[in-house]
Each structure stands twice: as structure tokens, then as C-alpha cells.
Symmetry: C2
Subunit: 617 residues, 2 copies
């Protein structure tokens, strides 16, 4: 199996040209000196959970933010690291592949070698399985040559996405010690980075010398918080999917006889669906977050789509495109409850055939109502993170079928007078996951790889590599690191088998912010999207010419420069200090006191009230 | 409904740049003089059917080939047309949309206006429905502006793909007469061009002044013969699909746990599947033509895939990608027979619920063996051309299920020792059909549009616009026209309702040539594709930089310059004439006589033996 890993391979013309693409580095990562400035201790945005988190991560919670600075930056108390001893670094792909993963390894390799040619980067083969079994491949220029700027995780492979049980954690530690690793870099999403934080804590506790560094790589775009603006792979996935969605929109408009129901990969949150909607302008999107907020049932959603079909038919439009995030099924209250019951029975060891007979009367009634294909899919074993097997549950087919039944009823009844409703269903996911990464993802991943080296040079443990100000050009990007534990929240309520996770801190899964600017953009346009067919085709992913440098719309419209704004605030505070010095006038002091007392009071109130389930980031 | 047609719309950055792209014209189409050279009368390659065809098309069969020449070409007997009276031309999209269709209209419009500014191009709205109902839109620069080099057929729309019944043909004639059209241009595939030939014949018979011109536009790539090297849209579809297939290959290799079964749109023939295989190097492709030639049953195919899975598992490979053309189901003998029985019962008016009970015992046994989802799909009404609804029949799921069952059996039995077989199924079709056309398709379609004007300027009726030598750069392309009737064959055997088409000439549907070079390329590589995972990613369709100018591999490897070779032969004959003139030596005459008698004898034998079903083109 491993004989194929890291083997050079035949590349197409486009792949070859991509392999030659050299991403830029922001000024703070250039040269061979690492300059790091520490900020305040980072706290979890989940104020109510902070106590639990600090308890669970005594060695790694409350560490300061780190900012990496350019050589010429005028920051007197920055730490300068110019000695670079030989290091041995391990790197592993965890969880689902996301376009750009290879570039993290490339960037990391380049940074390691630039600082000390004798240092080594060791890749684990076959993901966490390889980590535990110490199956490795030394990363060299030769190995990298046909994987630079290429999609997939096939240079090293990946398997399971867990390092969670005591056995797994100890196995990982044994590997790191046996291989004498100075650092272990974990490339993955929310689950893998939660594991990374746990490893870091355990290693620190056990005085294992290996530092653990996480990198935010997931197509779902749901590892997003004060410190992380977007994840590697999200841009590519949205571009590939948007192209296909737009093609289908054009098809719908040309043939004028089909409704396309398209389900999009992206796990629980609807980020991919939102971004694709802003790119392609399909007629409708059913965001899981809206459904959850409004507690819409499957029947409410069906009615909403039917009403839209009817309204469009009245304008002589008998076609359309509806997007559905794969996580929707878990956002619909009654389906979620049903899934939880099923998973609970799985947990008790009830066999698949017997589950339906052991459901509660209410769940059983819903279950029996559903078409056979979806019943079978709902009965599947849950994933390792206790969520349903979202990629296997064809919610788009369920909705299409319910809508068809209802439209036929309306047609018979005479309330609907349009053409017979015809649906075609699609699931877009696997065909985007292995795509050649966009320029943005190539750049972002490569820079993150370099940041990882800076983190380990600074001797930090339990940090995630961060790059902010991403909507600006690369030379304005700000690089840093934040403790992973400060990105965690604590689950306080849950039903079914997921209840075992109650009270356990985990990296927060960001859902679409219904108060955010990207959603606002959707809301402001949704009625024209619905009725006017203003389909837009961003085109296939381009590597040269127009469109090649575009970034996600949802990234560009959000005011996300949290780290920049924290700095700005510090500047204000310094200014106040500078003005109100002993010797300033009574009036100035009075004004300052009054203003600052009001500010602190307001903030105290706001902070104490944010004890809800999810922090508003 | 029609209010939306031809309306300018918002374009993305990539779309805008594409709208500004100006395809080149080959020298023979430049300037305002049309020079046409006529070749010999074109005959049908289907020698046995020629008599039937000439009978069915007394006015339009046996017309000469036409070649359009550059101004400076030294051909004394070429006809020069420099007068260009005002003309009124109608244009209609027939059948399924194919990327590039809009460019045919753009090229045609430009050629018409370049020769006489007062001439008009009239588009029919909503396909053949608009043609019959005389719903029109005058094509202007304004209308075209946001549709140049764009995908879909949404500038005009399309509906049904038939102009076949006497009522329809008469309706079309009435429209052409009412609108005083000098020519009607029909954009479509095999079915639509068969209809175009019929229209041309009927119009000629009825002395209707409108000339009918066909244009080969279909994503299937199956309108291919001595005169037509490829069709508009085929390149784009293969590029979009290959990208997705390659992404899935990368995904398979990264995760190492899934077999992907991907069905590809493309109707009866397997051209799309073959081209995509040559582009992406997936592990297997089940070409319908191979299955038909070897008379493989569904069980043979299942066994073949299972053996491959087993062989791969022995090399520790538990993943793979299998391509399946949508037409496969009609190439599997027993499934085809079953479909024919079902369609026959449909024809007799038997309702869907009662069909299964009226099947012959043999067909019924097969039917009952099949899983319920596929039974339902097989029972669907046939298409207008009497073929099954290929896009709705999930052959990939059927095969995946049969393979899974067999692998589980082998696992239990102990003959298979690999991991549990896991399949994920895809159908790639609709998501490619509306794509932005590739540069090649943009160029080809635009040039064909210009050729249409040359055909109508020459006053030809019942011709298809042709461009040959396509693998060379645009300035070497040869433009011409061939009578559609010479591309026809006559069905001599058929069962089921398709039997009504026996004896009716129709444009020949080209299947993959198992003696051709493209297939040879596949055959020579198929064992390394199968075992070595030499996946290749042509990348997303590019409009600039590497890959932007690539053409289909299957086009480039075939020796297709039929028209060029006909010319070459004529040169040889002229040379013989030139040498063997009265006065030449006895020996020369004797040698010439002996050689020519042998040549003519050989050819006579070859021609008389080609009385099989399909001509070998």
C-alpha cells in the first residue's frame, strides 16, 4: 500500500504548469530570523465555558496570542529568534481531504530547510494509522515535486480522523518519542484540531518534548472564529461547486422543464451552500441555520418550496435550481430528533433491522411516513463524531419527492395550474474534494506551512497557525498563532449518544452567522434570485487571467480583521495613557474617567450576558 | 415565457472576459466573396441502403460536395459569388443543449451582416415549438452581446427535438413561407439533422423557396462520419467531465476506501466515456461497443469488475474509479431485449403497472431479479427516438449493487480477502451541459456559423455545414458542405416499437470504432490504467495559459482528414491522366492498364462486400 505514496507521477499540461507556480510569502515570513510578539493571554469567547476549558487544559489554556513580525517592524519587546537548531518535525493529514493540503507540507518543508538544512520533515503515511504505526516517508524536494499546488492528500494518504482514545493518544506520543520529533503538525478541521489540542495538553503533562501545532484545513469552512477567517480548501470547493451549479442553472433555463435539487457537501454548517449561492444566484437555498432558527419542519420547508414553484409557474417559469446543504437533515427539528433516537439505539447495540420497531411512537410515525430509500439511509451508523452520515442521506431526494407529491395534489385540486413538476437531484461533493486548489488556497496553505515553522521555532505548544487580513493581497497578510483551546466551546445540552460529549470542550463549529454580512447579502437578494433567474456563472476555476485571483465572496464582505482590531484597541488604550499622565489638567482627567467608566460598565454588561450556548463571534 | 429570451444579463468576471473573445476565421471564409468548388456527387457510405435513400430523397440525394475556397486559391472552375442580395434567415435550436450553440448563431449573424447589412437573422423562440408557432426574436448585436462564447441555449431556448410528423413538417413550411425565409438553419444532433434533411426534401418537392441547412451540434459526439470529424460541444463536455472524474480519482487515492461508479451522459454511443478515459486514466471503462461486440451479459460485466476489484485488493488497493456510458444499458443484450419488450407494451397502451405481468417468461424472470429502483426506471416511457430514457436509468447503481453482492459472497466464501467493498455512484451530465464552451468549441461553432452563410449564398439545400482538418490550427481548417442524405444509413433489423423505423433512412449514429486509433490507445493502456493508478488530471477548463488550446485526444489521434484524402486521390488520378496521354510508350500504357485494372477490381470487391448493417466509416 505505502509503496505508492509520494511517488512522482505523470502530470497533465495544466498540472505541470501549476506545479511550477510559486506562492508569495508575506514580509513577516521572509528571511531567516523569526520575530515574535506576544499579545494578551487568549481567552475562550465562550465565557461560560472558560472555566471548564481552563480545567481541561491546565498546561495549554490561557497562553498568549503570538504575532510574527517583519524584520524591520518597530516593536521593541518582540522576541528575536536567530538561532535555528536542527529539528525533526512530523506532519500528518487528518480527516477528509481538502484542496491545498499538500501546500501546507510544501511551505513547512521549505521553511524548515531555509532555517537549517539539516532539519528533517517526516510525513506519516495513511493518516493517523501511520502516526500510530510509525509508517513514515521523509519529505524531500523530490517527493514534493509532483504534488506542489495539486489536490488531494495522496502524497501521504489519510485514513481515520481520530486521535482521541487514551490508547490512540499514547500511541501518538510513543511515535513522537520514538522518532524524536520536536514538533508534530496536524492538518485538519474542527475534529482533528480538537484532537491536536488534547495531544498538546497530554504531551505537556507528560513532559514529552514534542510540540503540537494545528493547521485549519477543511473544505467545510466551519473552523472559523476570532482568529481564523477561513479554512484551506473552502475557496476551491466553492469555486468547483459554483461552476457546476451555474452550469445546471443554464441548463434549467435552456430546457425550461426541470427543477434541480442540489445537495452540497460541507457537514453540519451551511457555509459552502451560502458561498455557492452568492456566486451562482440559484433560485433558492435552504440554509440549515435559518431552518434551525425558525424551527421549520420538513413540511414547512416543502410548503415553502411548493409555494415558490407555484409563484414561478404563474410567471411561466417551470424550471429552477434549489440548493440544500448536506447538514440540513440535522437542522430540521423532527428529523434530528429521529436521528438521535436511532443513534441512541445503535449505541445500545440494537441491530439495524430492529431499530424501527423500538422507536418511540412519535418517531416511529415519522419514520413510517418517510420513503423507503431515506429510511435506510437514516438507519446508517453515525460517524465518529456522533453526527449522522450526512453524505449518505439524500435529503435532496426526500424534498424533491415531497414537493412532487404536493404539487401533484395541487394540480389535481386545481390550485396549481402550471406544468407537471419534474425534479432532477444531484449531490456535489466528492467531485470537488480532489480538485486542483485555487490560487488563493495554494497561497493560504503554503503560507500556513511557513507559519507552522515559526510556531515551532518559538517553542509554542497547542497552537493553531493563523493568517489574517486574507482579503488583502498576500503582502498585507498578518501571520500569527492562537492557542487552540481559546477556540473551544463546551456543549451543555445534547440528546442521544452525543450526550457523552456534554461538558467536553471542543473546537467550536461555526455556523452561518444570521447577523453577518454574507447572510445579509443573500437576504437582500433572495427575492430576485427566486423570481428573476439572474443566474451568474463564475466559470471554471481559472489559474490565469480574470477570475484567477478571486476570493470567496463571504470572506470579502465580512469585517473579519479581529486581530487587527484588537491591535487598534490597544493603540487607543496606549493613547489614553499617553494623554492622561500625571500633570494633565483636572478637566482632562475627569473626562477620561467618565468616558472610561461608561465603557467598562457597558462591556461588563455585554460580557456577562453572553452565556448562551454558542458565542456570537 | 418569451419575455426573458435574449435579454442581456449580469455576467461574472470570467464570463465578461469570455464575451470579449473573438474567434479567428480560416482564410476561406474571410472577405465578402464566396468561392465554391463542387466535388463529385456524394454517395452514402451505406452502399446497400443507397437505393432506399435515393428513393426517399429524390431532390436532395446525390448532390455534390461543396468546398469553400480562399480568394487566392488557384481553382479555375470554382464558382465566384460576389453579389449578395438581402436575405432573411431563420435559426432554431433543436434537441438537447450543447456548449457552443450560441456561437453558431453569432458566426451566422456576423457573416450575414458582413455580406449585406440589410439581411436579417431571425431566431425561433423555444426551439421547434417556436418554429411552428412563429415565435421569433430578431438577432442583433445587442441580443448577442451577453451570449457570445457562453454556454446553454438560453438566448432562444429549446423544447422538443422533433419536426417529423406531416403536421410538424407542414407547420415548419408554413412558418418559413409566412416569414419569407430564404434559409432555415437547424442546430442539433443526429435526430435533428435527420429532420433537417426531411424538411429540405419536402421543401424542394413543394417548391418552397426556403433552403434548409444543418449544423452538427451535440455533446454526444455521435454525429461523426466521412465529412464530420466531431460535433460542437463534445470537447467541452469531455473537459468538464474529465476534470470531475480526475478529482474523484484523486479522492479515491487519498481516502483509499471507495470505488466510484460514474455514469456519463452521451446517449447510445460511448464517445464521451472513451475521451474522458483517455484524459483522466480511471481504472476501468465499460464501453457499450465492446460489450455489444462481445455480447457480454450483465453478469459477465459484474464478474469482470469483481475480478478487477479482487486483483487490485491483492495489491493492497481498495479503491478505484469505473466509468460507465449511459448507453451501456442498451448494449447489454438481455437488458436491451427486456427494454424492447417493455417499450412494445408501452406502444400497445399497456399501463406502467401492468407491464411487468405481461412480459414474456424470460423477460419477466430477468425483471424480477433486478432491484426495485431499476425496475421502475426501465418501465419509463421511451424517448421520442424510441430509445430508453438513458439519463434516468441508473446502470451505475445496478452494477455497484451487483458487484457489492458478489464481493460480499466472495468475502464470505473466503476467495476474496480484501476490505469490504464500498461504492459511491455518480451521474455526470446535467452539470456539464450548460458549461462555458471551451476555446475549441467556441471557434468551431463560430466558424460553422459562417459556413452556413456560405452554403445559403451558394443556394444549397439539404446540406450540413462541415469543417475538417480540425486538429490543425484554425487557419488550416477546411470549410465545406455535404448533403445530409449522404450521411444516412437504413435500419434493416430491429425489434420492438423501433421496428417502425425499419427501412427509414436516418443520419447514422456513429459508435466508437473498435478498429480506430482512439480505442487502440485505450486498449494499449488499459492494464496499466487498471492496476497502476496512473490518474491524470487535465484540470478545470482553462481559457488562458496551458491547456486552453487543447483539443479532444480522440480527435487528435484519428486520421480523419477524409475530405483531404479524397482530394489527394483526385490528384493521383489527374497525374495518371497526365502521364498516360496518346503518344506515351506501349510499356507505360501496359503498366498503367495492369495497375488500374487491379485497383478497380480490388475496390469493386470491397464495395460490394460492404453490405453489412453499419458502414465502416
Amino acid at each position: 500500500m505505502d509503496s505508492d505514496y509520494g511517488v512522482p507521477r505523470e502530470l497533465s499540461e495544466v498540472q505541470k504548469k501549476r506545479a511550477l507556480y510559486q506562492p508569495e510569502l508575506p514580509p513577516c515570513l521572509q528571511g531567516t530570523t523569526v520575530r515574535v510578539e506576544y499579545g494578551d493571554a487568549a481567552i475562550a469567547a465562550d465565557a461560560a465555558g472558560a472555566h471548564v476549558i481552563s480545567h481541561a487544559f491546565p498546561h495549554t489554556y490561557g497562553q498568549p496570542l503570538a504575532h510574527f513580525l517583519r524584520k524591520t517592524a518597530n516593536v521593541p519587546d518582540a522576541k528575536v529568534i536567530s538561532e535555528h537548531p536542527t529539528v525533526r518535525v512530523g506532519v500528518v493529514f487528518c480527516g477528509r481531504q481538502s484542496p491545498g493540503g499538500h501546500n501546507v507540507i510544501w511551505g513547512l518543508h521549505e521553511a524548515i530547510k531555509a532555517h537549517n538544512l539539516k532539519s528533517k520533515l517526516i510525513g506519516f503515511l495513511g493518516g493517523t494509522d501511520g502516526l500510530l504505526a510509525q509508517k513514515t516517508l521523509e519529505i524531500t524536494d523530490d517527493v514534493l515535486s509532483s504534488y506542489k499546488n495539486q489536490g488531494g492528500y495522496d502524497m501521504l494518504g489519510r485514513t481515520k480522523d481520530q486521535i482521541r482514545t487514551t490508547e490512540q493518544v499514547n500511541g501518538a506520543m510513543a511515535s513522537c518519542q520514538a522518532l524524536k520529533l520536536d514538533a508534530l503538525v496536524i492538518i485538519g478541521g474542527v475534529t482533528s484540531n480538537t484532537d491536536a489540542a488534547q495531544l498538546a495538553e497530554t504531551f505537556a503533562e507528560a513532559k514529552c518534548a514534542t510540540k503540537v501545532v494545528g493547521v485549519p484545513v477543511t473544505l467545510n469552512g466551519d473552523l472559523k472564529n476570532q482568529f481564523v477567517e477561513t479554512t484551506v480548501g473552502f475557496d476551491t470547493i466553492c469555486k468547483v461547486n459554483s461552476q457546476l451549479i451555474s452550469n445546471v442553472c443554464t441548463d434549467a433555463l435552456s430546457a425550461e422543464k426541470y427543477y434541480y435539487f442540489i445537495r452540497l457537501m460541507g457537514r453540519k454548517a451551511s457555509h459552502v451552500a451560502l458561498e455557492c449561492t452568492l456566486q451562482s444566484h440559484p433560485n433558492m437555498v435552504i440554509l440549515g441555520e435559518e431552518v434551525a432558527a425558525s424551527k421549520l419542519t420538513i413540511f414547512d420547508i416543502t410548503k415553502q418550496i411548493c409555494d415558490a414553484v407555484q409563484a414561478r409557474a404563474e410567471k411561466d417559469k417551470n424550471h429552477g435550481v434549489v440548493l440544500i446543504p448536506e447538514g440540513l437533515v440535522e437542522s430540521i427539528p423532527e428529523l434530528y430528533a429521529l436521528l438521535q433516537e436511532i443513534h441512541g439505539l445503535h449505541g445500545k447495540g440494537v441491530s439495524m433491522e430492529n431499530i424501527s420497531s423500538q422507536l418511540s411512537p412519535w418517531a416511529s410515525a415519522l419514520f413510517e411516513f418517510l420513503p423507503p430509500f431515506i429510511r435506510k439511509q437514516l438507519l446508517l451508523h453515525p460517524e465518529s463524531d456522533d453526527s449522522a452520515q450526512l453524505s449518505q442521506i439524500e435529503t435532496e431526494k426526500l424534498l424533491a419527492q415531497l414537493v412532487e407529491t404536493e404539487m401533484n395534489r395541487r394540480l389535481k385540486e386545481g390550485t396549481y395550474k402550471g406544468k407537471k413538476f419534474n425534479a432532477i437531484c444531484h449531490f456535489f461533493g466528492y467531485q470537488a474534494r480532489g480538485a486542483l486548489p485555487s490560487k488563493f488556497d495554494c497561497d493560504y496553505a503554503y503560507v500556513l506551512g511557513h507559519v507552522c515553522y515559526h510556531i515551532l521555532a518559538a517553542g509554542l505548544n497547542g497552537y493553531l497557525a493563523t493568517v489574517t487580513n486574507l482579503k488583502s493581497p498576500v503582502n498585507k497578510w498578518r501571520c500569527g498563532a492562537a492557542p487552540i483551546s481559546s477556540m473551544m466551546t463546551v456543549k451543555r445540552w445534547s440528546r442521544g449518544p452525543a450526550a457523552t460529549q456534554i461538558g467536553k470542550p471542543a473546537v467550536h463549529i461555526a455556523s452561518v452567522d444570521l447577523k453577518g454580512k454574507a447572510f445579509e447579502l443573500l437576504r437582500n437578494n433572495s427575492s430576485s434570485f427566486l423570481m428573476e433567474d439572474i443566474y451568474r456563472n463564475p466559470g471554471p476555476l481559472q489559474f490565469e487571467g480574470p477570475g484567477a485571483d478571486s476570493k470567496p465572496i463571504s470572506l470579502c464582505v465580512e469585517d473579519q480583521d479581529y486581530m487587527g482590531r484588537i491591535k487598534k484597541l490597544q493603540e487607543y488604550l496606549e493613547k489614553v495613557k499617553g494623554i492622561v499622565k500625571p500633570g494633565c489638567s483636572q478637566d482632562v482627567l475627569k473626562a477620561a474617567l467618565s468616558a472610561m467608566s461608561s465603557v467598562t460598565e457597558t462591556l461588563a454588561i455585554m460580557t456577562s450576558s453572553s452565556t448562551g450556548q454558542a458565542p456570537s463571534l
